[in-house]
Amino acid sequence: MKDLRNFCIIAHIDHGKSTLADRLLEFTNTVSSREMQAQLLDDMDLERERGITIKSHAIQMTYLYQGNKYTLNLIDTPGHVDFSYEVSRSIAACEGALLLVDAAQGIEAQTISNMYLALGNDLTIIPVLNKVDLPSAMIEEVSDQIVDLLGCKREDIIHASGKTGLGIENILNAVIERIAPPKGDIAAPLQALIFDSVFNSYRGIEVYFKVLNGTIRKNDKVKFMATNINYQADEIGILKLKQEEVQQLSAGNVGYLISGIKNAKEVKVGDTITHSERPCAAAIQGFEDVKPMVFAGLYPVDTSEFEEMRASLEKLQLNDASLVWEPETSAALGFGFRCGFLGMLHMEIVQERLEREFNMTVITTVPSVQFHAFLTNGTKVIVNAPSEMPEPNALSHTEEPFIKAQIITKAEYIGGIISLCMDKRGLIKNQSYLTTDRVELVFDLPLSEVVFDFFDKLKSISRGYASLDYELIGFRETDMVKLDIMLNGEKVDALSAIVHRDKAYPWGKKLCEKLKELLPQQQFEIAIQAAIGAKIVARENVRALRKDVTAKCYGGDISRKRKLLEKQKKGKKRMRQVGSVEVPQEAFMAVLKLDS
């Protein structure tokens, strides 16, 4: 066990984690340059394109240091705030972490929160200043930030460049010298932490785990403690570039388990694996069931593709256990699914995977968070969708989830960020200078305001420099109302939203204006109205189509015109009928882009 090191890399998006990981794998000859593909650990196309790691992975390297052969397990972590729970589990599987900071950008909010997570798990932190080769690198300044934050010595900071390979050897040496080998009792009852799982269509779910105590052997009978389901360990192994089957894995080791599990729901990250007979006394602490934060309806554009969409979601769920859904119907959109996501990025990823991997085109309805509605008779109603909101006259009050948001920014953007947070109904809790020009702002913010375009706006106000991390801090009393949209008096359920009363009027006005742009003229006038209950708060009209007729229709005109009209009609097949009004699919997406 003394020749073993388990470590992860803590970094903000774009700080070069995946590239640095690639260099480590190359340097230790884990991959030949022939197998080298940029950002090796990100093997989903989507991950590579977006330059972010969605699912975490693990890989084993061997490294010769002062005549000893060491086994290093690098556990990769996702870098986006939507996936912070997964980060916390991968951190729990390590004894040390590389704190990777971009020398040109400095420390970001998420780096700090993940670093505290690592310190909380007693991990040894090795600070690495990355991208020191960039002309814009601010080595002195960022080093100061790191020293301030960690209380380490300047000499402890390793200068590196994932691009040129600078500092890679120093990092590997530091991993061996500074990070403690894993502790644990090989003879104790089995206690292993599940830190990730992936779906393999041939072999079922592959469970990634770290053994904290005891030993797991091939064909052992094991139990997952949170779900209380028993399996046989059909295959266990270690994770090199390819999986390598082994007969046993003891305390301190990281590996994979295959036992014919078909459904990702049975495998919960953070769960404990133990033996069915001679189980360990207690599960590893810190397990949480991942709860969706954002809810939205997903509908197939082509109504006949409902069953196909169900099958696609089922397949997606096999390797994305955090995706939850149930069927729902909408008068405007037909049959679809109410889905729960970890956050907006997760929602976008699911939508994109449906389109790319399953060739489904989907309409997404207004994303919403979970609200609590209290009726005048005292009953509490959980509201995940506008349709579940009680009628105004039966409603006593509402509660909405709040988050604590930690924003780190350059000092010059403070004004803009504070007014953005105020506009989003935020309460400022703290403001502190990390260095002379880097400020940490702490806000209490309603989650419902953050799920929309908050992150995009934060980025644009700060020219991309501000970073955000948040955690849920509970429900608070609020004044939410359901805002309905009506077309010629008919409610369009798919356009309803739950908004704060103070924002209902501007929201309704903007949405009506946007719809006016998007709805094609029809042979009658269309009234677009926004209403709270029976009260109309905004209205726009689409004038009636007065004239739509070809002037000349002789000889060759006939074919030309027919083809043109047939083409238009094909496009119209994608429209939805609300009462007598035809609504194009973009109109349902309009809510997501009210400011553009």
Partner: protein, 371 residues
């Protein structure tokens, strides 16, 4: 039915997207090619008797008497022109001097379609027309003087204006001549025209749809009270003077189109000659018809039938569609449109109302079969 396309114009009207060339040197070789194609295509129609000949363009009135005679001689060589045949020539007012009119009459043209467009010099200039309002008036008077009893006047509306006075004046002037036939076209901004460019660069601001629709309504009202029958969306005629040639297009009749960009229909397939004068002449000289053939699917046949027939006074024959293509109109849609006053129908036929004609494209595409 025989159509001949004469693809030459003195200059380009700003709105026109038809096939034409302003390079007139090719007129002679083109006439040669037309005659050759007539010979090559003599068996296209299943009859040798022609009930209609139509010279369209372009500007067929640019043809000299000799050139027209040459074409007629060729036609007579391969076909028999029926005694009561309708023989139409499209003409621009500036080409119709007395002498020219006499020649046309002598050669056998018995119907003129005169491209007046408007009697307003400002609009004529804006649209880059070759003639003036005075020329238009003189030419119509001469047409009547020579004894062309059957002639049609083309009018255009949808020019931007503060009110409808100009339009009402144009209608009154046309009615004063009492032509047998009036075709009226709304100014349409077609892609790849000078006008399209002017609209894009904001040099020309077209009239609103509502304004043009009002003009259409005025037109229908004025003409129908003067005994003109509104037998197709853009066409009005005194009783018994419906354009036979054009009506044939709308009744799915067969026709042979000669010339660059001309279209033909033999009952099953449509074909279109190449819309390029040089390439057309070159191919014809080599004894080839440079045409693209289009075979319509049943759905396309249905759509075409609806598109064309809903525009006419005859409407769509429900039984014919049911028997031939097993097509049934959606009762729900019919009822909705009838309720909006846009359609009328019974068990036999489906028609557009005058109000419905303004929305013909939308309505007919709603009944299309799209797979």
């Amino acid at each position: 039915m025989l159509y001949l396309h004469i693809p030459f114009c003195k200059k380009a009207c700003h709105y026109c997207d038809f096939h034409f060339s302003t390079s007139l040197q090719q007129q002679k070789p083109m006439v040669e090619a037309l005659c050759t194609e007539i010979a090559l295509q003599k068996d296209y129609l299943d009859t040798k008797i022609l009930h209609s000949i139509y010279f369209g363009g372009g500007t067929p009135s640019l043809l000299t008497g000799d050139e027209l005679q040459q074409i007629f001689d060729t036609i007579r060589q391969y076909f028999t022109i029926a005694d009561d045949a309708e023989i139409t020539l499209e003409a621009n007012p500036d080409d119709l001097q007395l002498a020219k009119l006499q020649t046309l009459k002598a050669i056998g043209i018995n119907r003129l379609s005169i491209g007046v467009q408007t009697f307003n010099d400002h609009y004529l200039q804006t649209m880059n027309r070759t003639h003036t309002a005075a020329e238009a008036i003189a030419c119509v008077e001469n047409t009547k003087l020579i004894g062309f009893n059957n002639f049609s006047i083309d009018l255009m509306y949808g020019f931007p204006a503060a009110n409808h006075l100009n339009w009402q004046a144009d209608i009154a002037q046309v009615l004063a001549f009492r032509p047998t036939h009036i075709s009226t076209y709304c100014l349409t901004i077609e892609p790849k025209t000078a006008l399209y460019h002017q609209v894009k660069t904001k040099q020309f601001v077209p009239a609103s749809d509502n304004f043009a629709a009002e003009q259409y309504e005025i037109l229908i009202e004025q003409l129908t009270t003067q005994d003109y029958q509104h037998y197709e969306i853009s066409n009005f005629a005194l009783p018994t003077f419906y354009a036979r040639h054009n009506s044939n297009y709308w009744k799915k009749g067969k026709y042979l189109g000669i010339g660059a960009s001309a279209h033909s229909y033999n009952g099953t397939t449509r074909q279109a000659n190449i819309a390029n004068n040089n390439l057309y002449i070159k191919a014809i000289r080599q004894g080839q018809i440079p045409a693209e053939i289009e075979v319509l699917t049943p759905a396309e046949h249905i759509n075409e039938y609806i598109l064309v027939n809903l525009r006419t006074t005859w409407g769509c024959n429900r039984e014919w569609l049911a028997t031939n293509y097993n097509y049934k109109f959606s009762e729900k849609l019919l009822a909705a449109y009838a309720q909006q006053g846009l359609m009328v129908y019974d068990s036999q036929t489906v028609y557009l109302t005058s109000k419905g004609r303004l929305l013909a494209d939308k309505i007919c595409s709603d009944f299309f079969v799209v797979l």
